[in-house]
Symmetry: C2
Subunit: 611 residues, 2 copies
Amino acid sequence: MSTSATEVPSTDTLQAEIARLKLELDALRPKDGSTEEIYIGNYLLTRLEQLGVTSMFGVPGDFNLGFLDLVEDHPSIDWVGNCNELNAAYAADGYARVKEGSLGVVLTTFGVGELSAINGIAGAFSEMVPVLHIAGVPSTAQQKVKPMLHHTLGDGRYDAYTKAAEQFTIAQALLTNKETAAAEIDRVLTECILRARPVYLTLPTDLVYTKISSARLKIPISRLPPANEPDEEAFVLDEIMKMVETADGDIIILVDACAIRQHARQEVKDLVRKTQLPVYAAPMGKAVINESYERYGGIYVGSISRPEIKERVESAKLILSVGSLKSDFNSGNFTYRIPTSRTVELHSSWTNVKYANFPGIGMKQILPKLTDRLQRYAERANAITVPRFVSPIPQEDTKEITHAWFWPRLATFFKEKDVVVAETGTSSFGILDVPLPQNAMFVSQILWGSIGWTVGSTLGAALAAKDVNLGRTILFIGDGSLQLTVQELSTMLRKGLTPIIFVLNNSGYTIERFLHGKTRKYNDISNWDWTALPSVLGDVDRVKSKTYTVKDKDELDRLLLDDDFGVQKAKEVLQLVEVIMPMHDAPRALKSQAEMSGKTNQYVLEMRGDL
Amino acid sequence: MSTSATEVPSTDTLQAEIARLKLELDALRPKDGSTEEIYIGNYLLTRLEQLGVTSMFGVPGDFNLGFLDLVEDHPSIDWVGNCNELNAAYAADGYARVKEGSLGVVLTTFGVGELSAINGIAGAFSEMVPVLHIAGVPSTAQQKVKPMLHHTLGDGRYDAYTKAAEQFTIAQALLTNKETAAAEIDRVLTECILRARPVYLTLPTDLVYTKISSARLKIPISRLPPANEPDEEAFVLDEIMKMVETADGDIIILVDACAIRQHARQEVKDLVRKTQLPVYAAPMGKAVINESYERYGGIYVGSISRPEIKERVESAKLILSVGSLKSDFNSGNFTYRIPTSRTVELHSSWTNVKYANFPGIGMKQILPKLTDRLQRYAERANAITVPRFVSPIPQEDTKEITHAWFWPRLATFFKEKDVVVAETGTSSFGILDVPLPQNAMFVSQILWGSIGWTVGSTLGAALAAKDVNLGRTILFIGDGSLQLTVQELSTMLRKGLTPIIFVLNNSGYTIERFLHGKTRKYNDISNWDWTALPSVLGDVDRVKSKTYTVKDKDELDRLLLDDDFGVQKAKEVLQLVEVIMPMHDAPRALKSQAEMSGKTNQYVLEMRGDL
């Protein structure tokens, strides 16, 4: 990755541009038929292979079985048959997050299958994750006649599912003929990768085995965004530098979601290291910067932030904000107190300097140049003290496992390269306050917040982690959330994956109890025999899994200290730890968030006379 | 229900018309504020109560918690918290099917929840089932400002979910103010009930507790369709009678899906009994007519029909087709051989006589009049022999439980008033060939065919069966399908329901093996410890469930003959029977269907050189 000081586009950028133009030319040129012909189904698979895809998620259905033959026979793409389509979409999302630069792929069947997956696709849209949704659909002949096939609405509307998909994907390719199939496939894959958002592809049963030229496959699909316009970029850099001068060294960097999605992790790290500026992260940017890095100050989340972090971030004269995404849960319920006049916002394809917006100036290419210009301030920056982001384990009188104790205690269990997955709710809030180790990865769904999502995404994340040489995959999930998607434990077992799953058993939907209905029955759930789940869902002989229940601090402590659990078994079997926690306890950050959300609903209670 | 011989509209019809006009008037009249005011949330609940709703399905989420308080406090509507939203939508569908004349209700939260349910809603659309989908959404104030709340797409498109819902519901009400709320609620409920299709209602958090006049609640929502135009109806009757004369007694009745959905079950039964005409059913009309009735000949499904049924139906000089729905699986892959020139088709809101279409002439009101006119042919009709629909248990050498043996054997286990639920696949095909007892109800999803659907719908069906005084709920499902939605067993246990669940364990997706990929790995699934499921999913003490595994004919036979199983325990606990079946066996009808579907895909294999 180029970090050249000059403002000349890098070789990578130029090559990406060349590939793009070649592909466009190829789509327009008359075909001479001299190249090798391959099935459209295999064209698609080759493209996915080129983009680093090694696992495909989904559920078989009669409109995708022909294509599945090709997938099953493919040497490097593995078919991960999921238990249902929503879980499959979640898995594709988790896979894409961990395997940065590649994409997640989910294959479903017409109607029933694709609609079951749609919440997972919408989540990938919301959270900016590159996922390809392939729907196996009736043949092109049937699509013209529109017979009343099973999986149809009975009224001939064969386009209804696509219309729904259009709401939640940034591009759609409805393959209808062999002439445009390759270009259409390439178009949506390019969009998917470059814009880090889901795309939708319909694959009619007959076209899977229609042959087309393989010529285009020689030109790779670019993973780099188009180059910034050089003059505008130079102007923007100058504008930023003016603010830097004025700030007189009182600058901080704030890293957020889109720094990850735009494959700018390395560029951000370079910026941070070379400039020595203090750096903070929003929840969705957690662990982009090593949380043990000495210039890292912790998580900024508006008024939910720890007081010292809030004070430091909000008082800075210049905030370099990278990939900001100001959703309610990512911004402390919209309580950022950072004036626009002191902010530079770097985004995927635009930049804001104070109030000025510069469309077309994307972070990936401007960041290295900014880093170069800022390097000379490194010494001054280094003089600013940054209180380290630490999380001491509190001494508590109670033996109960409280959230206040649990998360700091777990922090010492994490290792480098762990993939830490936190379910929406107590887990995603609890993990915020504790640092993750170097090169650990944080996976959560803070904007979309679909409960149950982490079970599927842990499956995808664990598969991807093997590809990219990451370590253990560790999931934190509440009992309520696990019930939504529990069957996917079965797929983890079948695939021989070895995540560690902490099931926080607090008898129901705790996040909701804090938002509303503390003692309401609708927030209760059935208590399951959690530790029996793996053996029932596929590990009948109990050789692929091990389970534990911990009822108090001592029991959890002993387990976490046991290398057989944390090291040895973590390589061999799936481990599930049921953690008994009090019903009405929650992490600090969730309590604060709930208090603020609660205010919004307060007038309702007043109207009802409950207050 | 009127079966009057005159062509004057019935009292019911007239009263329905009066109610409709009053409601319309009320919507337009200025309010004087003298009536009692109630919360909009309670207005909705009262309407549902009036329509016979006793259970509401769904999952709590922070945008519906306020409304859930009202639901939980409602004296006659029970909150059935489901494990996930898709299962909840399936349950609402199953509930509506069994509780004819009422509707199913599913409550979800904004975005994540409603999208998870959408496949279930689309299935209700396809199969014509009245389901109300209530989505708890942000307050009206937030919907104007469109902040980046959790559960949004991050781009301010607050209407994206509604746009998706529009594809799969026949009417939508997006409540935005107190002035129109009551009329909007009434409008979608009327559409839902009358057209037997799903509708969508968004309920903003603030409007739940906004007070409105309760005046409209005094006028009930009509369950009767608008009256047929009398002159046109009389003309249609005359046209039909001309065909009847020509047919010279060689007439049969063919009953299909929409006879159920239009609440015309009684009218159809009267037609059949009073005219003594031979009657057959399409798969989706199974059990509308008692299958032990002496004039009932069995299931007609095009060329998949048993030969004697096919011959008899297709040779009739006049086919009175009631509520026909010619989908692939409901018509033997479009192999009806019934010429239009010999057919009268009665539908919900139109009638076809030969090639002539009469829009606006609906079955519910014309049927009693047709019955009256046809009664005088009863004697002649009775002279036509109808071979009884029976299904003798075959003698087989093997001890294995084959489909050929299983379904006829089960037929003798069924009792009057059983609710028989058959999952798409081997079960839905297997059950076709065997008769159900008098007043039994058949629940299946032959058009939509979403696997896993029956688990949710069994929950809903079992709850509804209690309301309408039906008997046991008996589910047949394959191992592959059960994996999609298994967690809903937990809700059945929590609600103390006592279905009998036969899990056909044949190691994977058998219907798909017959369609394509007979030995492919993608049709395999993990083998679970099926009989341990109830104890793990909530019945930890094993007091609410009992499970069995039967490996051969003798074992199953003994179980079915045991009254403790079929009678006593069927009232007390949930029972799950794992039935071990050979992997490559299937019912006759499925083999035929697969053979025909296979032909469609054959050219694919030819192109690949596999043949």
